[in-house]
Symmetry: D2
Subunit: 336 residues, 4 copies
């Protein structure tokens, strides 16, 4: 049974809106950043990674965002284009904003952290008047991401994109992707996350992210079913709640819950796991697969990314994901 | 037929959220402010005026807002209390914010203007965590006002109040009350007005205010019926669109439109007309009157206020309104 | 002996730079402001008051400042012009700044306070490029005031005015006039007060104001002579330190100290005492009087102002000051 | 003849105050930054580079500054310490500020540019109360740098450091180092540069930097002698004005001007030339050399740095500089 259906008459499969930034990944890993001296530059940002992932998986994709008027901004736009992503709605800031940066520190495969540069970043300068209704009108699925809600005018641009998506019947997915930078308070965060989530068909986040959204409500046991039910009263059809090592559970409006097997991986770092999972999962939904298969496919895609040095650049094709699953099933891959 | 119904089990009739400020009305009128030397101090702000009006009309009322920690703030709280308004949810700013001011200039009865002080004002510092769910849970009607959406954290406080009102079944009225101060852009304004209006049962505004909300939509003829229909697709039951001298029209979800007669008045100034109209109209709805009678009552209340020097202090009792209507019908009052 | 000498070839006697604002004085006095309902509007701001005082005393004066583009700003400019003050260098803000306000509360003659509106005020928007070198080049004395140092770009405008005054040989007087509003920290305050004071010939302030300037230095006994000596090492010729009820002491570079008798007054409020004192004292210096006579004249001018409802509007002529002194000497005036 | 003399009883030779940041130098050079993928991390910032240079040349040095509370900040402090620089007055920001970044782009040896990250940087958060009077009291020479004047509270910290240096008799050098980032206006820039320069013994800058400081003055021919004479009227003994390829001229208070020969270099990039020149020149002054010899030594130090990939890390020892000069004199080094 398909919980969401896509308008096959629309030409563009998938459009993401939000953060576009640069990852600077330490080349010398398994040590603190104080001791690393060289970094490699990649395109980053959760919705960018997911969009690149969707494009690698073979979909027609586009991006709605804003880049700095500098070498970093041009690098991002060129990379998106080189990956087949439509950039007609990637605008350029003219106010002197910079490109957001994420320096990654990999002390060990399980001890990773990020040093963020999020002051005066171009991606948060996207104006609601810059969002293309035309692009959204011909798109099957729109993905929004929580960080784009963190500041004006990007916040308003996301609400305007949601308005266009509702008007034109796009399926809306919300990757919560909560990051504390630039939010003023927890209460502000909860208010806008909730206002956006009310309008979404698919909501994907960690248990902690849903907890943050429930600070004005009563769910003392942090019960997934109470969480999911709230959103089914609005627009949601599928709510995926991630429980870290215990795995993810997808709840559907019909009252069912869905799990999937996980795969082993030789982990280099944890960054990018959520983005590649989301890409794989949403790709599966667009293929009409059942929820468990979507989740398995997402898990395998995540395994490939966390076994690699980068996030965006490691996003797999569907052949690579299928091959990974096959190799796991043949016992050729074991955990690190 | 009642378009909206109120939960008679609730103890509080009416609660307003938003702006509380000080009006400083020129005592020497019919001249430019450069030539006035003395001013009289009144409590002001559209939702404050409406709430005072509702209290004068005999309802149980309360206010959700924030005042400065100074003489002006204490004056406001005392005035509300002296008018029988519950102030348990009027909090006091501790960050050094000031009380908003409105110096009024009355060059002639038809040429009035306001000099506003809206920098760092206490009313826009209301936090979502300060909004009392308990108060809203026992309230029949919640009124929100557009200026409270103009800045964070007051903007989030309004959305949180809306959330509580929906949860507890309060009827929600939205007095658009658009003022350009403190808004960053027209696009930002439209986005938040629309997000709030989606959740409201009764929306009251001028044609120009609805135009501002429709900048991302197509209504080239500025057609009231297109405007009203949009909100009936969300939560609205009644949409009142004011056309200045041509009078107001109330549209209802059943497709009907309603007008009322207007009354003559000896106009001193135009300030406060909309607030007293709103109080009278909403009061009528709470009495179960038909729409036209509500509109007439509001119009008569407005006439009384614009014939007086102040706004808040001139809000009439229901006896005064009924008496005014009776005198008009006897031909004892003619236009100035 | 004249401690400072003025260039008699210059056409303009006195120019002040800095704050121009509006005083709103409670008409109902001897009560808290919560209980006052009407206010009277006057021009205010310490350098404005001093300049008005100098003009009333018969000098050729001018002002360097910035007013809001509104009724309050126009009122200020007109009042200065009506008092014979050259306003060629009073510019008008075009950024939407407001006029600073000071609501005065007079609980008793000795218990007075001010409620200030200093957010986004026009007077602090004066740009260094707007300061007229031509005006300063033909001015005998320039007065600066501490509040104008409280924020950029007004701060830079004052330093530029000081630069022009040094270049063209104007005598520079510094009325410390420290107000905590808008300063970020005590350390910031001390740094800029000291940088400005280094360039001044005459420095007038309270003991507490000089203490604030000495926070990076050692003067544990708060010794006036240590304070004065520091400035004599820079440019100062006269340092006046006010000790409240114990009276003021003027220190001069030759090592002398000077006191003056005080006069009785029927005090209504304390506001404006310092400004009228400064006007009277500086006026005396420009007449070539000895320091004690300057101080007496300033004291008598102050008595006249504190016996009145306003500050600026009560600034006396020299005939009024002389008459006041004569009446005191005849025993016709006794303390309230 | 020695134009400046140093107090040999003081234990610390040289202390710099101001910017501490990170250079991220493109590893793949001679191409636009869009096409570079890896970067190497170095300590940067003009005063940091000069201080590292002085330490390499064998002097006892210290730094007054502020670093971010993150991996970048700790890297900077450790690098200074590893280079023998006292860091007792390098404080750590606790407000969430970041480390300033400079991504360098080397399109060709003569076409280099920098992409700066200067929003919310820790170095500009240095407070005047954090400047150590004790450190300055035992220092022979204090170096200030223009970028530290670009924002509060760092601006005030520099003025406080100047105050301590004057009080304790340290020679003060001012490396103008004008960068447009974070300054609000040219007028603001000129005002603070001039206020600081008034207090300095040695001023080093480009002709364009001095032009920027003279925007309120008349020097239409951009005459070096008019420029230098202004500062000799304040505290200056030596004013070095750099004319790019035409070389530098040092003016001294006695009316003399001094030039030096330049040396050939195999240039990789131009970054760091000014910093290494300043280090070499000031080092020479502290050795009591004549001005021309100081300038030659500075030029040779600059040649070494511009022939290398980094700035800070390439700062030479005095043996390296002497060796470079000797090899140039033997004709072993020719221009690239």
């Amino acid at each position: 049974m398909a919980y969401v259906s896509f308008d096959s008459a629309k030409k563009t499969d998938f459009v993401a809106v939000g953060r576009l930034c640069i990852d600077l990944n330490a080349n010398e890993i398994n040590r603190p950043m104080e001791e690393t001296t060289t970094f490699t530059k990649y395109v980053g940002g959760s919705p960018a990674n997911i969009c690149i992932g969707m494009s690698r998986l073979g979909l027609q994709t586009g991006f709605i965002g804003k880049v700095a008027d500098d070498q970093m901004g041009r690098f991002i736009t060129r990379y998106l284009e080189a990956n087949g992503i439509e950039t007609s709605n990637v605008t350029t800031d003219r106010t002197g904003a910079v490109t957001g940066l994420a320096f990654t520190e990999i002390k060990s495969p399980t001890d990773c952290s990020i040093l963020m540069y999020r002051d005066n970043v171009a991606d948060l300068k996207l104006e609601p008047t810059e969002v293309s209704e035309e692009l959204i009108s011909r798109t099957k699925m729109l993905l929004i991401s929580g960080t784009a809600l963190a500041q004006s005018p990007s916040r308003e641009a996301v609400f305007q994109a949601l308005d266009y998506a509702k008007k034109h019947g796009a399926v809306i997915a919300f990757d919560l992707d909560y990051r504390p930078y630039t939010w003023v308070s927890d209460a502000e965060t909860a208010v806008y996350y909730n206002l956006a989530a009310e309008k979404c068909d698919i909501i994907i986040g960690t248990r902690e992210e849903f907890d943050m959204m429930e600070q004005f409500e009563r769910n003392p046991e942090r019960d997934d079913r109470i969480t999911a039910a709230k959103w089914f009263d609005y627009s949601a059809e599928i709510v995926v709640i991630k429980h870290g090592k215990e795995g993810s559970i997808a709840y559907t409006k019909d009252g069912a819950s869905h799990r999937a097997d996980s795969y082993p991986a030789k982990v280099i770092k944890t960054f990018g796991a959520g983005d590649s999972y989301a890409a794989g999962f949403l790709y599966g939904l667009m293929q009409g697969w059942d929820i468990s298969r979507c989740m398995s496919f997402g898990s395998a895609a995540a395994c490939i990314v966390i076994s690699s040095h980068s996030c965006s650049d490691a996003m797999p094709t569907s052949e690579q994901v299928n091959d990974y699953i096959a190799r796991c099933e043949r016992g050729e891959i074991t955990a690190s």
